[in-house]
């Protein structure tokens, strides 16, 4: 090949490589999830603390240094909570959530996504210590639109679960 032809070809190949770089840096990706919507549950709860104490035996007390001798040894943890979610009367989640931390003494964190087709749903969320009446609850009719997320979260000011959607936000202008 002659010099000018090689130089021209080199420019074309180099240009094509650079254009390929530019194209690959913004590949359009369409998320199939956006055809439907999501009911998202996300909050942090400071669960009820459970403390279990027992009296130490005289031998156990004897084994302890003087300054550490207390008649009772107590261990505390946060009680596990049950999350129950029903949609249009059907239970879609019923699970026990344990507190965070190796000793289960940290708060309870809830983070769940439930995929839903667009439409209106009667949502019932209950969050309670096992065997106890609901500590936090929400009953609402939720309209799910394509690509939107309805967020159920905790409002500390009202001490209640609340629902947030993009539509509400747009209505309120915030």
């Amino acid at each position: 090949m002659s010099g000018p032809l090689v130089r021209g070809l080199a420019l074309v190949v180099g240009g094509a490589a650079v254009l390929a770089l530019g194209a690959l840096s913004r590949v359009p990706y369409t998320s199939a999830d956006a055809e439907g919507g999501l009911l998202r549950l996300s909050w942090r709860a400071r669960g009820e603390r459970v403390t279990e104490c027992r009296r130490l035996t005289p031998e156990e007390l004897e084994a302890l240094p003087l300054h550490m001798r207390r008649p009772e040894a107590c261990e505390g943890r946060i009680a596990p909570y049950r999350l129950r979610v029903s949609i249009d009367g059907a239970v879609v989640a019923d699970t026990v959530i344990r507190p965070a931390g190796a000793r289960q003494d940290r708060p309870i964190y809830v983070l769940r996504d439930i995929a839903l087709a667009p439409g209106e749903y009667a949502v019932d969320v209950a969050f309670a210590r096992e065997g106890a009446p609901a500590h936090l609850a929400l009953q609402a009719v939720v309209e799910i639109r394509p690509g939107e997320i309805a967020l159920v979260t905790y409002d500390p000011a009202r001490n209640a679960l609340v629902l947030r959607t993009a539509q509400d936000r747009e209505r309120s202008g915030s």
Binding site: M1, V6, L9, A10, V13, G14, G15, V18, L19, L21, G22, L24, S25, R26, V27, P28, Y29, T30, S31, D33, A34, G37, L38, R40, S42, W43, R44, A100, G101, A102, R106, P107, Y109, L111, G147, E148, I149, L151, T153, R164, T165, A166, R169
Partner: protein
């Protein structure tokens, strides 16, 4: 295990074949000196510098309190901000491509195990840090791609029992994202390049004279191409992240977010298993494909009795594997002696060609053995008489039979191996000319084999080709394995010029190739009194 070895070896061989083919095409377009594939490693470092320079500009205008809006304002600066942001982004993409090309080449060329393992592993770590750096950079924009990256990253990381609360809750819209989040991201995005610098230092720590930047023409060519792209096809703004909406159409950067569409469909455990398996394969691939123990060349050795302490091998070793030490007690010879550190020696054999007294070399392979090979070759190869003999690097076009056109070949693992006395010996033994077929200088497996050979032959570097040798009968040709036509053409042209010399000799004074040609040029030097002159006498005994 045997079958795994044969599979992995076949994969590596296929990689090498593909690489040499592409190299050949690119060499034809850009020439081997400016072939960007040969400079891929140095291009990465050049691009990292571009990233630092453009990043400093972006830092002036970025606001952690208004991430998307501040990037949008930068993008609105039509004269500067827009293309600087584009170059910043494209340079990061190009750095990933260049790093991947570099890793692929090192793997295909068997340059990733043994003492080079440190460079291989640190190189993979570098690539990983570049990825993390890129992800933090994309999150800073806080557009829909950032939202996907952050949410998916949090989902993957949340299985690790090290966070006090799930990271994923940060991005769900419970509360506005705090500026502290973007500040931390920005801090990581700026601090990580310091780690990159440290890793680069480790990466090249076992190299003498590491090449940290490509030739200027390549570097500025790459930068100009990225600037042109940023101007012609600027990076736009994707919609701002919205935690209450699922991003629908997202412009993904395939170089940094290629994994997103796959991992979003997989459970977190599978993502970790897949990522761990890929990382393991990447780290271990060189060990699976390295030659079996008996096929590996031994480490270089020094014959202390012959070492004159000239230090040339220390200067020439591309891996800093040779040092000068005190001689053994009782050794009456003066001065220091060379010592090879086997932990650093990659068995490239470049020290063979550097040692005038032929004291250094691989086990059973010093300049002395090369002379014996030349003598044996001349004895059994009738085509050598008066004809051109090719001394060819096993990684060059000399491996392709069609490139030789029937010329006799002495294969060598690297032309840096070649002791200049071997070339002289071939000419003295009756060869009409010697053509050394080297791989391109910037692609030498031993890093500096071809470079030192040329200096020894034409620029007086020890151990130099003696001035008495007729340079018209010696030629060095660079031709990669993907360029057999280049070697073939050079060989034909050289053979014709050698034939013309022979005709001239027949018409003229009748001098032979080895001793007369140089004299005819007035290029004859008296044999020097250095160690090499002494060794030549000894060699008679070795070769016979």
């Amino acid at each position: 295990m045997k079958s795994l070895y044969s599979i992995t070896t076949a994969v590596r061989r296929a990689a090498w074949n593909a690489m040499t083919r592409v190299d050949g095409w690119v060499n034809r377009l850009y020439g081997s000196r400016y072939n960007p594939l040969y400079h891929s490693g140095a291009i990465v470092i050049g691009l990292l510098l571009v990233l630092v320079a453009t990043g400093l500009y972006l830092l002036l205008f970025y606001r952690v309190g208004a991430p998307w809006a501040s990037v949008a304002r930068i993008t609105d600066q039509a004269w500067l901000g827009r293309w600087i942001r584009g170059v910043h982004r494209f340079a990061s993409d190009a750095a990933v491509v260049a790093a991947a090309v570099h890793a692929f080449r090192m793997y295909a060329q068997h340059r990733s195990w043994g003492p080079r393992a440190l460079a291989w592993v640190s190189g993979l770590a570098l690539l990983a840090v570049i990825f993390v750096c890129g992800w933090t950079g994309y999150v800073l924009v806080w557009d829909v791609q950032a939202q996907l990256l952050a949410a998916e990253g949090a989902r993957i990381l949340d299985v690790l029992p090290i966070f006090s609360e799930p990271l994923g809750r940060t991005f769900v819209g419970e509360r506005p994202l705090p500026s502290a989040f973007f500040f931390l991201n920005l801090f990581a995005h700026i601090a990580l390049p310091i780690g990159v610098g440290l890793l680069v230092w480790i990466h090249v720590s076992r190299l003498a004279r590491p090449v940290l930047l490509p030739p200027r023409r390549v570097l500025w060519g790459v930068v100009a191409a990225l600037v042109a792209l940023a101007i012609v096809w600027p990076v736009g703004m994707a919609p701002v992240a919205d935690p209450l909406r699922i991003p629908e159409r997202v412009p993904l950067d395939a170089f940094f977010a290629f994994w997103l569409p796959l991992t979003r469909r997989l459970p977190v455990g599978a993502v970790w298993a897949l990522g761990g398996a890929l990382a393991l394969v990447a780290v271990l691939a060189p060990w699976w494909t390295r030659p079996q123990r008996e096929a590996r060349p031994g480490k270089a050795e020094v014959d202390a009795r012959r070492c004159t302490g000239c230090e040339q091998c220390v200067h020439d070793c591309p891996y800093d594997a040779i040092t000068m030490v005190e001689r053994e007690p009782g050794d009456p010879r003066p001065g220091l002696v060379a010592l090879v550190n086997p932990d650093l020696c990659v068995s490239c054999g470049i020290c063979i060609g550097s040692c005038a007294p032929m004291a250094v070399g691989l086990p059973g392979w010093t300049g002395r053995e090369e002379l014996a090979v030349a003598r044996e070759f001349l004895g059994r190869e009738p085509r050598a008489a008066g004809q051109v003999v090719v001394v060819g690097c096993e990684w060059s076009a000399a491996t392709v039979e069609s490139a030789l056109g029937g010329a006799p070949l002495i294969p060598v693992p690297c032309t840096g191996h070649v002791h200049t006395s071997m070339i002289e010996h071939l000419l003295r033994g009756g060869a009409g000319g010697v053509l050394v077929a080297a791989c391109p200088e910037w692609d030498c497996r031993g890093r500096e084999g071809g470079k030192w050979l040329v200096q020894r032959m034409y620029h007086g570097r020890e151990a130099d080709l003696k001035p008495r040798v007729d340079r018209r009968r010696v030629r060095v040709v660079e031709a990669s394995a993907g360029e057999p036509a280049v070697l073939r053409a050079a060989l034909e042209e050289f053979a014709a010029s050698v034939a013309a010399l022979a005709d001239g000799d027949a018409d003229g004074d009748g001098r032979t190739a080895a001793d007369g040609g140089a004299a005819a040029d007035g290029d004859l030097d008296a044999p020097d009194g250095d160690a090499r002159g002494d060794v030549s006498l000894e060699l008679e005994g070795v070769a016979s």
